[in-house]
Symmetry: C2
Subunit: 362 residues, 2 copies
């Protein structure tokens, strides 16, 4: 009888709540406005020839590499960052190897790592979700082949310092260190180019967040050219669709659009922090386009909160099941008008549920 590999059967099911998302989308850390109008214009004017032909990744890859200021052979465009994670797991991990991740963090590191048969070593974030550099280094073993760090991390929005990341890369020269910079634009610090000194460092970027192109699926994996050759071996030559490839030059050309959006998000972040402070709701200072907050002590509390927000047209994400996030909800920031609406709903919900009464003291 046909049986899937044991490792695949052990992979946890991951069903993000994508269906029926009616309301203001503050649940997936997407851009809540849209992509640059130049991207939209390019999409609408796309040469029909680009749809019928197999996509050619090369030219867009060169454009993105140029934008990042690195040579083309250090860059691979991927079908979203998920594919970059998948390819790194396939390149470096096999049964009996170990992958080290920080918890809580983005779900797909664990999923793709487990699918290879490797053991996933979870390192709990420190107090207030501080990056656990010391513990992580202690947990690196002779079998560690991949370390994944989202920086900023999701859902807490906390960051790892450059020094800590370099220290980890040095302590684990036999492991690839993926620094997932999906939220780079909201933070501003990068490990890009660190592979010149430490060839085990990889950086991932995405066009799904600040650039507002999540639907087009475009991720970037950057790293040492020699290591990258191996990653390319397991990637389909046709992994990225022609619409994403055709639009990305406009996306990177319109930096004004991205900068404007990021500035609005940062302003919104300050406003939400202030409001949460006033209500006495515990939250964690985030360097990304979202804030994690504790709206109660249990899953029931966070579920109630999410439901009350939903009734007011606000989609926010329950993160109660994440490590150390009991009773927590994550809210994505956007431009002023969206933050206005979210704050108005928040005030109502806080009053209705009595959260401001000190249910979750700071």
């Amino acid at each position: 009888m046909l049986k899937p590999r044991e490792a695949v059967l052990a992979v946890p099911l991951y069903h993000p709540p994508l269906a029926g998302r009616e309301g203001l989308r503050l649940d997936f850390n997407e851009n809540t406005v849209g992509c640059s109008p130049r991207v939209l214009e390019r999409l609408r004017g796309l040469d029909p020839e680009q749809l019928v032909k197999y996509p050619e990744r090369g030219p867009a890859e060169a454009a993105v590499a140029g934008f990042l200021g690195v040579p083309s052979d250090e860059v691979l465009l991927t079908n979203g960052v998920d594919e970059a994670i998948h390819l790194l797991c396939e390149t470096y991990l096999e049964a009996d190897d170990e992958a080290v991740i920080v918890v809580p963090t983005y779900s797909m590191y664990r999923i793709y790592a487990m699918a290879t048969g490797a053991r996933v070593v979870e390192v709990a974030a420190g107090e207030d979700f501080a990056f656990p550099a010391e513990t992580l280094i202690e947990r690196v073993s002779g079998r560690t082949r991949l370390i994944c760090v989202a920086n900023p991390n999701n859902p807490p929005g906390s960051v790892a310092s450059r020094e800590d990341l370099l220290r980890i890369a040095r302590s684990a020269p036999d492991a690839a260190l993926l620094v997932d910079e999906a939220y780079y634009e909201f933070y501003g610090q990068t490990m890009l180019g660190a592979w010149r000194e430490l060839p085990n460092v990889y950086v991932a970027r995405t066009f799904s967040k600040a650039y507002g192109m999540a639907g087009l699926r475009l991720g970037v994996l950057a790293g040492d050219a020699e290591q990258m050759k191996s990653v390319r071996r397991v990637a389909s030559p046709y992994n990225v669709n022609a619409v994403a490839l055709g639009c990305v030059p406009e996306a990177i050309a319109d930096q004004g659009y991205v900068e404007g959006y990021v500035a609005e998000v940062r302003e919104g972040r300050e406003r939400l922090k202030k409001a949460l402070g006033v209500y006495g709701i515990r939250f964690w200072p985030s360097q990304a386009n979202f804030i994690l907050m504790r709206v109660g002590l249990t899953k029931t509390d966070s579920a109630k909160f999410v439901e009350q927000m939903r009734r007011r047209g606000m989609l926010v994400r329950d993160r109660s099941s994440d490590h150390g996030c009991e009773g927590c909800v994550r809210i994505t920031l956007g431009p002023k008008e969206h933050v206005d609406r979210m704050l108005a709903a928040l005030q109502e919900v806080v009053e209705e549920l009595g959260i401001a009464q000190g249910a979750s003291p700071r």
Copy 2:
């Protein structure tokens, strides 16, 4: 020092000649005209909200399942058939397992299978590229976990009978049998639903060929619902882009477009066969949208032919490096006007190179 897995280093590099494709594209078995105008219209009118949101595969998956006449849980939309192959390899193969393929065939089965660390067992096609059912069954071992059959096969265009495929599935109940029906529309016979009786049968389909949507990257994997659950575990929830998902309902609704195109291709196939017969050039009767022909005895001969065709604005594909294809070239068929141009160029090249003089007797 960071080292990729041995299995990955053993994967052959695959660089299809995608760059600088100036001329009539008869080299990748693409549709040479374009996708349905309804697809193009949908793309241009796509709600910008679809670009900024993470794609939701469910509704399009249900539409495709409905079109194929199977329940949704038997269908997974993929980032082209390449991803379907990748996911099947990951689901069933690990080091020390065996994958069985027929040679010559599509390149990616071998690449993804080797990346898992499995051994790839090659079964040579028979006389005139006949499907080697007997030999294949003999080569199935206790370690065989995946068998890949392109039907029609590429590059020869030959087919495997339903009886042979069922026999293989029965002989190898511990292995998944992928029947890759990328060229189904030009052939008309399918194994869809065979998994009701034999749960190890999978079928792949694509929108890259007859539908003319290669740039959008949309493949279909169909199979037993229970088996499919495992495949879904290793797929990203966001593997297919929103443009492909948004356009596919129009593509399947416009069957008239596909049927018209397929009829033209079939007519062109007959015309090319007739011309090759007249020139005395050996070819193999194909059930797909291409014909493989022997234009000489060596790689030099086929390279010369490809170059002469290129000078006349015709891109055709040298298949000399494929098993049993020394001196062979593959030409994609299209509508009348494209076939007219191709045949005119062919006549010139045949004369210039003296191929019709009996260099490759039938």
